[in-house]
């Protein structure tokens, strides 16, 4: 009799421990579940563009993950794509770090789009080693709301990208990484990969990869009307 009871209890314990293991597994951010789709939606940070949010699986930029932005030409409106979310982060007193920006971020333009300049930090490390170190430290510090980095002359290796992605997850930081378009052929551990280009007066966004969501869609975002409006110039 008692042995039968024991057997039952053992069985129960076993199923319980199995259940717990499964729960552990399911709690991982990098496992996509169709059943969780409802719960997951809304975990992202709103980009400020409704049509883009609709395409992204978290209805916004993926939190605590790397987003790769692939493009060849600056000036297509890539920073304007990020500015609304950056402005909201700085207004919430979160630090935004730019690591090795290609040009000078122009204060009047940033201020007029709502970015609190005192929360903005520019980093110019010398050399690849220091750059990677400062990227990782800043991402995992937990004090940085968003980090923008530009790939220099050296292409980052896969293991470095993986480390950065991990650091962003540990520090709950939005990481935007700008890379040349040629890298789109190489696989990347980033949660979201977007290809940016121009289509006349519009910014063309193509989803190359999205964790837990469909990819391949194209999107056209209009540039601000006061920029592309055509006057009759004197020349």
């Amino acid at each position: 009799m008692s042995s039968a009871e024991n057997f039952f209890e053992n069985n129960q314990l076993e199923t319980q421990s199995k259940h717990r293991k499964l729960e552990h597994l399911l709690a991982r951010a990098d496992i996509w579940q169709a059943a969780n789709e409802q719960r997951r939606s809304g975990t992202g940070i709103a980009s400020g563009f409704r049509s883009l949010d609709a395409l992204l699986s978290g209805h916004g930029w993926p939190r605590g993950a790397t987003t790769e932005l692939l493009m060849d030409q600056t000036g297509v409106g890539e920073l304007a794509l990020l500015l609304p979310s950056l402005a909201r982060l700085t207004q919430a007193e979160q630090m935004v770090i730019l690591v090795t920006p290609p040009f000078i971020p122009y204060a009047p333009a940033l201020a007029s789009s709502g970015v609190h300049l005192e929360k903005l930090l520019l980093l110019h490390p010398r050399g690849q080693k220091d750059t990677l170190w400062s990227l990782e430290q800043s991402l995992q510090s937990g004090s940085c709301g968003a980090l923008l980095s530009w790939q220099g002359q050296h292409s980052l290796e896969d293991k470095d990208l993986r480390r950065l992605q991990l650091a962003a997850r540990n520090g709950e930081c939005l990481h935007f990484h700008f890379r040349p378009l040629a890298e789109s052929a190489n696989p990347s551990p980033a949660s979201l990969r977007l290809q940016l280009g121009s289509d006349g007066a519009q910014l063309a966004v193509k989803l190359l990869k999205q964790l837990g969501g469909p990819s391949g869609q194209c999107l056209h975002l209009a540039r601000p009307a006061n920029l592309v409006r055509r006057d009759q110039p004197l020349h």
Partner: protein, 503 residues
Amino acid sequence: MLWLCIQFPKLPLEVLTRALDKNAQTGALAVVEKQHIVECNESAGDRGVEPGLSIATACALSADLQLLERDSEREQQQLEQLAQWGYSFTPVVSPETASSIDNGDSRPACLNLELSGCLKANGGLRPLLEQLQEELKLMGIGSIMGLGHSPSAARMLSQLAEHRQWLARTHSAPSPQQWKQWISFSPSKLLDCDNKTIAKLYACGIKRVSQLLAIPLSEVGSRFGRSFVDYLARLNGSRQDPIPSYQPPAQFESELFFPSPLDNSEQLLFPIGRLLRELCQQLQRRQLYTQQLHWQLDFGQNQRKAFTVEISRPQLEPQRLIALTKLQLERHSLQHPAQALRLSCKKLHPLVQEEMGEDLFDEGKRDECSHQLLDKLKARLGHQALSGIALKESYLPEQAWQSADTLLLKTNPKKKGHQLTPVKAARPSWLLPRPSKLQGRGHKLFYQGELQLLQGPERIDGYWWQHGRHGRDYYIAKSEDGCLYWIFQDLTSEEWFLHGIFS
């Protein structure tokens, strides 16, 4: 009140010979000032050399006597350090410098500590006295101590051998009755007055203080003067005995010498940790903090290397400071073996409650995190790799921003002064460090393809009142591949430049 007087009779000799190995056989040594012996070591003393002798007599007694010039400045420094050491036990400390030899009588340097307020914290009188003696012994400084109800009494009793014997055994402070007994028992030569007065006392047959106290004060006054009566009153406690109180300076300096030079920066970590712990202990005790650590490595032969670690927030944890220093140290390589390491903090600031940021809520913690991150980045990348940006009032686009110090990050958002507002007109988010010249052919402009002007001109004409005029017509231009640029035509040279990118 319970005053402890620690006298340092051998200080002139000890400051000069402290660095020498105690066990090593040293010859006869004597410190001289103005042709007279001030202090001598044991082997010189064995041959009959004693303080007060002239150099000629001393050399006659001991032919191989080595003479050292007295270094009063170094003595003063040592006394200052001893005062700081004493300050770690009690807040009421008063150092007294030694008198120079030409005043006739020579009073050794001494330190007065008020103990009644700190007995409890240090575990009672006996443990405190033992600790003081132990630490002095470790420092290699000889001392004699006396306990009294006023600094004058403590000073006098420290010279009384019977009192010192009692002090070596006592567990509790004596009663007022006992003070009186000690004082009246002491010989009159221990009184703190000049040689002339003492000779006069002995001439009158007054050999003990008790005899002196038996005489009515008015008669003592008419014979020895008013100041002597004052001194007697201070001695037996009927009058206040004020002495200057010592305040430690608001800075920190400490140095470590390495007997064998260190050639590896890894090896430096241990002395660094030791100095930082010393600093943190002192800061904690005095409720101060520092924003900069100045490190200096001494390679000998006047070669030095200095570096500075900046700390944005009050930080009293040695581990964090060690980590920051380590990051900074990794950037430098040691060219030569280091012989000494010095840490100095020029300015110490008082800790204010809100600056500590000891906040239970999340907000404070994140703030703390960001300051730690900034310190780390600064330590590894150097100060110049970090910057912020800020608005500036100017007509010229390239002067409408400025590189701001990262200190801006910690300013309180509530305390904002005059706020600048950016211009309303369209401005590019990227600015080129300097305008780059555009290729033009006929009426067409080229920058990675042909440019098409969309809007303009917006005339910006700044500094026409100064020598270099900056008259420009700005346009928004679009390239063939859809990029938007901010370009201008210089009004004087009529050349076209690219100045910004609408990114």
